[in-house]
Amino acid sequence: MTKPTAILTARDTSVSGRAPQRHRLLVGLLAGVAALAVAVLLSLFVGANPIAPDDVRAALLGTGSDEADFVVWDQRVPRTVAALAVGAALGVAGALMQAFTRNPLADPGILGVNAGAGFAVAVGLAFLGVRAPGDIAWLACGGALVVTLVVYAIGSGGREQSSTARLTVTGVAFGAVLAGLTTGIAITHPDAFDRMRGWNAGSLLERDLGVVVPVLPFLAVGLVLAAASARSLNAIALGPDVARAQGVSVTRSRILVLAAVTLLAGGATAIAGPIAFVGLVVPHLVRWSVGSDQRRILGGSVLVGCVLVLCSDVVGRIAVLPGEMPVGLVTAFVGAPVLIALARRRTASGL
């Protein structure tokens, strides 16, 4: 199991030498942690309500006014927690999908996870009378899980070599069908459409801890599975045949990755609704700075995913005062130019 890393490390070493590589990693790690700390502080101190930083500090220390307490503890703290959970989950899910499909344009939505969650939410809103954000979260999680299982059942048959492509095609096809059905429900049930609109844009508003905390165990398991699959993903990066020759079970790592992506993307979607571009852009940013070792990429994706979602949410809070813009819209605005810039760098998308 150590061979593939050895090969990759050797390749890295030949380019930059081992000591500078370590040095660069450490700098990257420190920069990532610092950026995360700044993003968390921004998320606590900046929002639609222009209360003074001193009042926010007082509220954090437990001596704030009623209004500051409400803004900080009822609004900003839960949103910050939700943004951290969603950002980490989407970043890692995106990195896993890109490594697994060896396709730099893959994102978690490719397995139909978002479409499944969206369809389940539409059915719940239109036919089952579901209304509470907490119940919507469970529907989204369940829908994501069922669709991934169905996609896996249909797409995983046949010869092993072709099955990554088959899974992808099945997922995309299934996602398209479900998205169509969801649109059909939305058009014939304007009430459901009205309530779905907020969820569909991807928003962290009204996501109190009661919505976020129940999903955290799913995300934690997903992150553990992702970490467990990192080594075999390094081998798969060299092609399934090489991976098998090195003793990596492709089937086993495939199940690990799919389970992790479902839990992470499904959980994130359950909390915030579908948030575009995070899963796509984050792994590119990370690969560009840490190279091609999946263990580093996955770790970096946690940090960068959190920073991207936190900062996007902060921008959304002050973009259309006195209202708010859903974070999903902001990530689309931020993500698209970043993706274009990365695509223009020839080396950035290498997998």
Binding site: D74, I154, T188, H189, P190, G198, V320, L321, E324
Partner: protein, 311 residues
């Protein structure tokens, strides 16, 4: 090649089912029909947002494509033979009464079904230029069609337009006079002068405040309340829940699909009940979408009840 046949069969079955489902939903059209000949009586020319049209003086079979048109037509004592509704599952709003409940729906306000409208054999169709402009030619082949300009115009003007199209302009004045009288009654009974009131519609996590030019906002003002000052964007204003305290007023009304269920109150309001001593959940089916004289009366009755409970 292990398994491919079984897989293919499964896929074919899935595809066949999907196609069957699509086919079923597409087959609900009804036979085309010619314009009705019942309107043989006198006609006159009416000027409207899409031009000039010759319409019957006393139309009997009316199709309406907008909530304010449905409300006004029913209020004037004419039961439409077809109405486009906001929500086909919910159908005609219940506040319009039992007789209105049997009015056949002809698609949604956003997408009226031309075939269903033709099947209703109308002698007059009333629509809205801003929404149904593209359908005008098709509709005018079915029956004389008049369009009001937009649904965002002051609703009293739209009531007057509909009454004119129905050949009953005095009826509109009577309805609006009755509405104003009810307003004055409530203003006197509850001594609303000098007090503020705010209608909030929770939507997508933000709070939409309705201003004095909105339907419900104008009804609150008609009943003597003043609306707190805000930088209104057209009829309303979106407010972040962080700034919920800016929505404060002496009386605050929050719309809900189920006003009896207090969990439909947004968390930002329940966390600040001290700042909102007079907080009422109200039915959005008439407070928001019940535009028209009957909806206005329903809002005023509800307002009367809520203010009586509170005091």
């Amino acid at each position: 090649m292990p398994l491919p046949l079984a897989h293919r069969r499964r896929l074919v079955a899935v595809a066949a089912l999907s196609i069957a489902a699509l086919g079923l939903s597409a087959c609900s059209s009804s036979s085309a029909s010619t314009p009705s000949d019942t309107a043989t009586s006198a006609t006159h020319v009416m000027e409207h947002a899409h031009g000039e049209t010759s319409i019957p003086d006393a139309p009997k079979r009316v199709v309406v494509l907008e909530p304010v048109q449905l409300d006004t037509t029913v209020a004037l004592g004419i039961t439409p033979v077809g109405a486009a509704v906001l929500n086909e599952t919910a159908g005609v709003p219940t506040y319009l009464g039992e007789e209105a409940a049997d009015i056949p729906t002809v698609g949604t306000v956003a997408e009226p079904n031309v075939q269903l409208i033709a099947a209703a054999k109308p002698d007059l169709i009333i629509g809205t230029e801003s929404r149904h402009s593209a359908l005008y030619d098709q509709l005018s082949e079915i029956a004389p069609t008049v369009f009001m300009a937009t649904q965002t115009d002051p609703w009293r003007d739209n009531v007057q337009f509909v009454a004119e199209a129905l050949g009953d302009p005095d009826g509109a004045d009577e309805l609006l006079d009755a509405y104003d009288a009810r307003c004055a009654e409530i203003a006197k009974e509850h001594d609303t002068a000098g007090k503020t009131a705010q209608l909030i519609r929770p939507r997508d996590g933000v709070l939409t405040l309705y201003g004095p030019t909105s339907f419900a906002g104008s009804t609150l003002e008609c009943a003597g309340f003043t609306t707190p000052e805000h930088a209104w964007e057209d009829i309303s204003l979106d407010l972040s829940p962080e700034r919920v305290l800016e929505a404060k007023a002496d009386q605050v009304f929050v719309t809900s699909v189920d006003p009896d269920d207090t969990s439909t109150l947004p968390a930002s309001l329940t966390a600040n009940t001290d700042a909102f001593p007079e907080l009422h959940l109200v039915d959005q089916s008439f407070w928001i979408t019940g535009v028209g004289p009957l909806g206005g009366m329903a809002v005023l009755d509800d307002l009367d009840r809520l203010l009586s409970d509170g005091s």
